[in-house]
Symmetry: C2
Subunit: 224 residues, 2 copies
């Protein structure tokens, strides 16, 4: 019964498994152990360890924790990985600023650091490779990380359409991919996986050029 109660607390708490239940007897679970375990998984993934190579023993070792302490919280690796995904709160969506153009730039700049930098990139790579084998893991990552960013981007694009800065004759999801995709391609497909500082602004200006209803750039005025 204790096991079952504990496991349900995992789901109910939404990521931090060791909630202190008021009526609970005995020594309470260590919150430090929780975060050490989650952090150990993230750290190992960041170092390029694939999920298949992530053993419970190795996770416990990395976390400086007994194996039983891990199994007391999660019934197995799958459940642990799901909670790791749930722990990936997007820190803060960049606030709505001045122009749609500037908001897009700051959104992509946010993606450049937090989304496709070291840890974010390793996570994305690792999770993306397990789409077929562990669909639930992918679903959780998508719901926690990808969806929020996509929605934020869509919001800015909708504002652009309403403002008249963006033409309304394109599917907004496709348009969103037009901004995110090149960042992704650069982070995953090229040999150097770091993203240049100027990339977000360049990308936004380049794409907006094609979708805004306004004037042509100076370089093209002579052409006919």
């Amino acid at each position: 019964m204790n096991r079952a109660a504990g496991d349900f607390e995992v789901a109910a708490d939404g990521g931090q498994p060791a909630a202190v239940v008021p009526g609970r007897r005995g020594r309470p679970r260590s919150a430090a152990a929780d975060s050490a375990i989650i952090e150990a998984v993230l750290s190992l993934i960041e170092d390029g360890v694939s999920i298949a190579e992530l053993s419970m023993e190795r996770i416990a070792r990395e976390a400086g924790v007994g194996k039983a302490t891990v199994y007391r919280r999660w019934p197995g690796k799958n459940a642990l990985m799901l909670d790791v995904m749930r722990s990936l709160d997007v820190p803060s969506p960049p606030a709505a600023g001045l122009s749609v153009r500037d908001d897009l730039v700051s959104l992509l700049e946010f993606l450049r650091h937090r989304g496709l930098a070291k840890r974010g990139s390793a996570l994305l790579r690792t999770v993306v490779s397990h789409v077929r084998a562990q669909p639930e893991l992918w679903a959780e990552y998508h719901a926690t990380v990808i969806r929020a960013r996509h929605e934020a981007l869509l919001g800015v694009l909708r504002r652009g359409v309403a403002n008249g800065e963006i033409r309304a004759d394109h599917d907004l999801d496709t348009l969103a991919d037009l901004f995110v995709g090149p960042m992704l391609a650069r982070a995953l497909l090229h040999e150097r996986t770091d993203l240049p500082e100027a990339l977000p602004a360049d990308l936004v200006d380049l794409v907006l050029e094609g979708v805004r209803p306004g004037a042509r750039p100076a370089a093209a005025t002579a052409a006919g």
Copy 2:
């Protein structure tokens, strides 16, 4: 000595390890076993098995081959995986056609089928997740698969710049990512990973709108 000679043939032959050497005594190696092993690896990867989960025993089992037959050809899993990457010949870059626009569409259409469809997508996901852990594997995949496609795309873009269909004020590598990236984003980031049939044409038209020097689309003629 036989072992060493055999291993060098692997490298010299460029992917098919069991070359029949004229002066060789005894029963020659089975070419069928070679392809069965390579095919087994690709098939397993296609089913979502990560490289870490790919054991030599499982590969031999899937190929219907004794384990010794695998070890006779490759010294270990790493070497085998490298040859698997080398076996991934890009079947045929789409021929240069009429307009730059049409060539871009057929190039992306090619990518849609062969590059990001079932097998290609699984391979990309799997290899991309091992960038940190096995850089040589990534380098080989990049050299065999990605580079050829990127060069083909760059060639078309250069032709577009020469023709005047594409303005010359943008980095061509960035421009290439502008075409490939959205395909990649759609294949990797969305929940449905299949690519719509109309995506290549839509994408090319959308991007070209922003980078061609010519007239504006009809919707924008009235604007300032």
